[in-house]
């Protein structure tokens, strides 16, 4: 192990030796060198010198000596960094307890900068986590109200203020302002019941001088017990900071696609808007329009069934659209007529099965179309007869 390092040292010593001139230069400039740096260099130089003189055992001894010095110095440097880091770590812990989370984080970062392999600090810097889902109340902070008082009020324990601070991502638990809304999560041992919610509201109302009865449901300091499904709108509030509307962009993209005649693609964009707001009127109109135009495209390609389906979808979004209804009828009529005539042609050329198939398509969407039922019956009768004759033979 030790010997493996020797080539390495050699390599560095080589460079140190090439310093001959440089050392002299330093002396000339009277640059004070830290005494320690000199020591290991002297030992290394001595080792090299011995080697050059052909005295390997003495060289080894000198390498050993240089290593001893270096190991101790490295350890010293490590210890000093480590103890500095620990000082910042402890300072951070204390700040954390005072609810000064922003400053605590700073101390932890300094600690980690000094000593990167500090798992306790890494753990503390990690956000307390995607907060596990909890039900919560919303509390509106009153003038001069402290977090510890709020903790006392909801948890009957003022030392639990940290729970509220963390849940609300506060940088400093001491910096509250009147009107600020805090989410108060349910915690182990404390479950907010409907009753308690009302009571909490009532207390707040009494403090403001209102009557307890009036406070129950509508009190502003506590919106009452909210279902998380409706109330947890954390990310929606953040949208204001983004500088754009993450839903609107899809509407714009849909309109561009509509203009380019990419109706099917446009539908996907509009659907994304409706995913968040199924009742957005303008987008519902766009949906209707895109389906209608896509239907038209199919119609012009004689794809009547596809056209029909698009017109039907358009009518889901705009049920009173007369032009669309008319188009739908035209598509159906064209479809029926095409297959009706194809059936007749097959029949005349004695392809009974094919004729039945075509008329079946017509019958599927309109059983009363022209003569379709009687034709079907006739074709079926003929087919059966032929079958019979074949069997007799």
């Amino acid at each position: 192990m030790k010997y493996r390092l020797i080539p390495l040292l050699l390599c560095f010593t080589f460079s140190a030796l090439t310093l001959g001139g440089c050392a002299a230069l330093r002396k000339k400039q009277k640059v004070a060198e830290p005494p320690g740096v000199r020591l290991e260099r002297i030992l290394l130089e001595r080792a090299l010198e011995y080697e050059r003189k052909g005295q390997p055992h003495k060289a080894l001894q000198s390498y050993e000596a240089a290593l001893a010095v270096i190991v101790v110095k490295k350890k010293g440097l490590e210890d000093s960094l480590r103890s500095k880091a620990e000082k910042h770590y402890r300072r951070g812990l204390a700040l954390n307890e005072q609810g000064k989370y922003g400053e605590a984080r700073h101390e932890f970062l300094v600690a980690l900068r000094l000593w990167p392999d500090f798992p306790e600090v890494v753990e503390l810097l990690k956000p307390s986590g995607p907060p596990p889902y909890r039900r919560y109340l919303v509390h509106r902070v009153q003038e001069g109200e402290f977090l510890s008082a709020i903790a006392e009020k909801y948890y009957h324990d003022q030392s639990k203020f940290g729970v509220i601070a963390r849940f609300n991502d506060l940088e400093d638990a001491a910096k509250l302002y009147a009107g600020m809304e805090l989410k108060i999560p349910e915690i182990e041992g404390v479950r907010f019941s409907q009753y308690e919610t009302k009571r909490v509201g009532a207390i707040a109302a009494t403090k403001k001088g209102g009557s307890p009865e009036a406070g129950g449901q509508t009190d502003s300091s506590s919106k009452g017990f909210m279902s998380y499904l409706l109330s947890d709108d954390s990310s929606v509030a953040l949208e204001q900071e983004m500088g754009y509307d993450p839903v609107e962009i899809y509407q714009e993209q849909g309109v561009s696609l509509l203009e380019e005649g990419e109706y099917l693609a446009a539908l996907h964009e509009f659907q994304k808007v409706l995913n968040t707001d199924p009742n957005r009127k303008q987008v519902r109109e766009y949906m209707a329009w895109a389906h209608y135009r896509q239907g038209e495209v199919h119609f012009n390609h004689a794809q009547y069934l596809e056209a029909r389906s698009q017109f039907q979808k358009a009518l889901v979004f705009d049920e009173d659209w007369t032009a669309c209804k008319e188009y739908l009828t035209r598509a159906e009529d064209a479809y029926k007529e095409v297959h009706y005539l194809k059936g007749i042609q097959h029949f005349e050329e004695q392809r009974l099965k094919e004729a039945i198939e075509e008329w079946g398509l017509v019958s599927d969407i309109d059983p009363d179309y022209k003569q379709v039922q009687s034709y079907l019956a006739r074709a079926q009768k003929l087919l059966d007869k032929i079958q019979e004759l074949k069997e007799v033979r």
């Binding site: 270096i70 970062l109 995607p130 996907h268």
Partner: protein, 336 residues
């Protein structure tokens, strides 16, 4: 000990330059030691020999030619020369990118659709995209995949000092047709967040085959639900149980499809519309995700909440912030 030795070396290097007759910017070379390797658990000292290439060294020491940047950043040199002494870190000493004057952050950029002609915010004109990539290259940025960002957030592995993650949402075919050739030109990679109903479901969506080709080129595919649903919203007339079952499915299926079709393990979720809440986060964790990205602007340090990692939507120019302001790699804070 090695630290001290390296310091000695650097001292020597600075002082030696004129004595050895090299230019002031060059380090002394030890050509007679070419190919020599000295290795401890923490570090390897290697003397470059003729014909060495950085990518080969990265493969030799890290098993991955893409990791050449680690050697580059540890040694700050321009070109490999025989006899050059290189220090190759074998253990990551500073995965969080902390320094005396601040800490590293990584910008995550978000794009959607690309086109030659754009008339809305979501659409990125391809010429502008090309200009942006040229800017990143010129500034010395390296692109990282979201899985690497996860390693950084977990304080496991460092990112390149100037790292940027390019993410592209939804899965438009224009990613493959227009953006991919440009990214390839700069040797950049990107992470796609796809909603799986879109793939093959729309004429302008990318296909699984195209996605496979991208993953082979080092791209990453992550999840953006099945239908691009707003996960925080319970549908009208939907019971709580139905709603929970629906989200569960929206989270589960994309991971399965990505695994089946691409053989990749999706670990990131992009919340549709950037909308999340505690319930969504909790369910995403249960579904096996390890992080979630939003659309809130800003660059992230390693201690960011992995389920609320912000991203910067790059807008069609004139409709958003200047691109140059969106990419950051460092946040100043004195850490004495």
């Amino acid at each position: 000990m090695l630290v001290i030795l390296v310091c000695c070396w650097l001292l020597a290097a600075g002082a030696d330059a004129s004595w050895l007759g090299f230019g002031a910017s060059k380090r002394p070379l030890v050509p007679e030691e070419q190919g020599a390797l000295f290795q401890s658990e923490q570090v390897a000292v290697y003397v470059v020999k003729k014909g060495d290439r950085l990518a080969d060294l990265a493969r030799r020491f890290y098993g991955d030619p893409e990791k050449a940047w680690i050697i580059e950043e540890a040694n700050e040199f321009v070109a490999l020369e025989p006899g050059q002494v290189m220090v190759i870190p074998l253990q990551f000493s500073n995965p969080g990118g902390l320094s005396v004057d601040g800490y590293q952050v990584v910008s995550i950029l978000t794009y959607h659709h690309f086109s030659n002609q754009c008339s809305n915010t979501l659409c990125m004109p391809i010429e502008e995209f090309s200009r942006q990539m040229a800017f990143l290259k010129k500034e010395g940025y390296r692109t990282v995949a979201m899985k690497e960002v996860l390693q950084f957030i977990d304080y496991q592995e460092p990112l390149p000092a100037k790292a940027v993650a390019i993410t592209i949402d939804d899965g438009y075919r224009s990613v493959y047709e227009l953006a991919y050739p440009i990214l390839k030109q700069y040797n950049f990679k990107a992470t796609l967040f796809i909603y799986t109903d879109f793939i093959g479901g729309s004429p302008n969506a990318i296909t699984w085959d195209e996605l496979r080709e991208l993953t082979k080129a080092g791209f990453e595919v992550e999840a953006h639900t099945i239908t691009h649903a707003d996960l925080t919203q319970r549908g009208k007339g939907e019971s709580e149980a139905e709603y929970l079952a629906r989200i569960k499915r929206e989270l589960r299926v994309p991971r399965e499809l990505i695994r089946e079709n691409l053989g990749q393990e999706a670990v990131w979720l992009a919340y549709p519309y950037g909308r999340w809440n505690n319930l969504v986060i909790t369910m995403a964790m249960e579904a096996g995700y390890r992080g979630g990205v939003t659309v809130t602007r800003g660059a992230s340090p390693f201690f960011v909440d992995p389920f609320r990692v912000g991203r910067n939507q790059v807008m069609n120019p004139g409709k958003g912030h200047a691109f140059e302001q969106l990419v950051k790699f460092f946040r100043g804070e004195a850490l004495p």
